[in-house]
């Protein structure tokens, strides 16, 4: 018990120094106009907050568009990535054909395809969803492959010696072995998908948080760019926090190891 309390105590101690630094920087930023910093270039946080509140409908509209792109793109990329990973590990031909192609093509920065996709698919949401899906696809595929292959051979042999079926080995050993890898892939994939959605919006027309960031498109002041960047950061943080919670739910043994070992 005391061990647990100490643990929470140290967490709190770890929390304060970075929080104080961050708070200090925000305060400094807020009073920066009095040092002669131009509010037309660096609007203070209060101004950014004010536009967020005053024009909340604009932000909600654009935010929801970007969120839809991320959600659809991520779902497509995740499912296809997972299936491709399974095919590479369990399908002999698929492994030989796909793996070298995927490992190589992973080197291509997905975002550079955006202009091409706009030409191919028009100015709607579709090319953006494809960009997000592609960005998610690679880390999910590669981590699924690595995760499934990380299953311990001696443990598999143990179950085989008991007469276990292929299905039992898959369910009881290979899936749980792959889980931390796949979740790490999800984490990476979500980060990429936020980047992918926002940057893809810079190309072509339409709306979204990325679009809102581009000053020349907006009839408002520079604080709109700041507000859109802040919202994007919040989206990324919330998504990653969500993965963290899912991870704790799906892998309770990990916490057990960390706290008591």
């Amino acid at each position: 018990m005391s061990g647990v309390r100490e643990h929470t105590g140290s967490r709190l101690r770890e929390f304060w120094p970075p929080a104080l630094l961050l708070g200090g920087l925000v305060v400094l930023w807020e009073i920066s106009p009095s040092f002669g910093v131009l509010t037309a270039i660096v609007p203070p946080p209060s101004l950014v907050l004010k536009t967020l509140i005053d024009k909340h409908q604009v932000y909600i509209d654009n935010l929801s568009i970007t969120l839809v792109e991320i959600a659809l793109g991520f779902a497509v990329g995740f499912v296809i990535g997972l299936l491709t990973g399974l095919a590479i590990v369990y399908g002999r031909v698929a492994g030989q054909v796909l793996q070298p192609l995927i490992v190589t093509s992973q080197a291509i920065p997905v975002i550079s395809l955006a202009p091409l996709l706009v030409i191919l698919m028009g100015f709607g949401m579709e090319p953006r969803i494809v960009i997000v899906a592609l960005a998610v696809f690679f880390p999910i595929t590669l981590n699924t492959v690595a995760g499934l292959r990380s299953a311990d051979q001696e443990t598999i042999d143990l179950l085989k010696s008991y007469g276990a079926s292929r299905r039992m080995i898959f369910r009881w050993i290979e899936i749980p072995s792959a889980l931390p890898f796949v979740l790490a892939g999800v984490q990476l994939g979500l980060t990429y998908s936020v980047i992918g959605a926002v940057v893809a919006e810079w190309v072509g027309s339409g709306r979204g948080l990325g679009k809102l960031m581009l000053l020349r498109q907006s009839s408002f002041g520079v604080e709109v760019t700041y507000a859109a960047v802040a919202l994007t950061a919040v989206v990324a943080l919330v998504l990653l926090g969500g993965v963290h919670l899912v991870r704790r739910r799906l892998m309770p043994w990990e916490i057990a190891g960390r706290v008591e070992a």
Binding site: D152, E154, T155, D157, L158, L159, K160, S161, Y162, G163, A164, M168, W172, I173, P176, L179, M251, P252, W253, A256, G257, E260, A261
Partner: protein
């Protein structure tokens, strides 16, 4: 045998014969050469040899995970070559699944057999209680010490309740003191189960202490050097190590295996 052990429900002990087993791996690696071993039902038999003598290959053949090129494995007179499901199998690593709690780990063999959890849990609880692990029933293996983890692996092996136990250096990774205690504990457990045991080790001392019969193997390609019967009273305590018969056997086996190890080393160096 007290016969009331939690697990004695599937099959009782059976004799084991390994007949003329040979195995060559791809690349002309000759792992085993004409191996013959025999254990009577309920006997504790050890196989000692220098590392790389193909002991583990031999065990995988007995477990049915690898097919020998020639020869066969008989269990209670029945040919089981290349088939699984006859052996409780235990290695140096405990092989507990980190994502299963202690109780879910020890019943995994019964899960494979399709035994309902209500029944397997009841049997597991009895053994966990007996081996002082009941407090950890719902814990994950990560919180257990090395000795506790290996005890879980033993419970998993007992619960699977195969007629033959295959133990491949199960205590090698433990520290010396824990290891000696685990050996005595294993003998105590074994005496209540009456299973046939094949025990692999490179430690001559451990082999003699535990076994009724010790087979010594040569360096690769593994073949049999000798077989000795250990005529020491049971139950044995650690003092049996000072018995003249024990010391004599040890001197004989150590000399043989040392000679083999030197020969293997010389072969590697030339």
């Amino acid at each position: 045998m007290t016969g009331t052990s939690a697990a004695a429900t599937r099959e009782s002990a059976a004799s084991v014969r390994v007949e003329a087993v040979s195995k060559v791996f791809p690349g002309d690696v000759r792992a085993l050469d004409d191996i013959n071993l025999e254990a009577d039902a309920g006997q504790f038999v050890a196989v000692v040899g220098p590392s790389g003598c193909g002991k583990s290959t031999l065990f995988n053949i007995v477990a049915g995970l690898i097919r020998p090129d020639t020869g066969r494995v008989l269990l209670g007179g029945r040919d089981i070559t290349g088939t699984t499901g006859h052996c409780g199998y235990m290695l140096q690593r405990d092989l507990l699944l980190p994502w299963r709690t202690v109780i879910d780990n020890v019943v995994i063999g019964l899960d494979v057999l399709g035994v309902p959890r209500s029944e397997s849990y009841a049997r597991a609880r009895e053994l966990l209680q007996r081996f002082g692990l009941q407090r950890f029933e719902r814990s994950y293996p990560a919180v257990l010490s090395g000795g506790m983890r290996q005890r879980c692996a033993v419970i998993r092996t007992i619960l699977y309740d195969a007629p033959l136990f295959l133990l491949d250096e199960p205590f090698t990774a433990l520290d010396a003191q824990t290891r000696l205690l685990m050996q005595e504990w294993l003998l105590e457990v074994w005496s209540t189960l009456g299973k046939t045991v094949f025990y692999i080790t490179h430690d001559v001392d451990e082999a003699i202490f535990l076994s009724d019969r010790v087979f010594a193997m040569s360096a690769r390609p593994g073949h049999l050097l000798t077989m000795v019967e250990v005529e020491l009273e049971r139950p044995r305590s650690h003092e049996v190590r000072f018995d003249p018969h024990f010391v004599g056997l040890k001197a004989q086996l150590v000399a043989l295996i040392r000679g083999e190890a030197e020969r293997a080393l010389a072969a590697e160096l030339t």
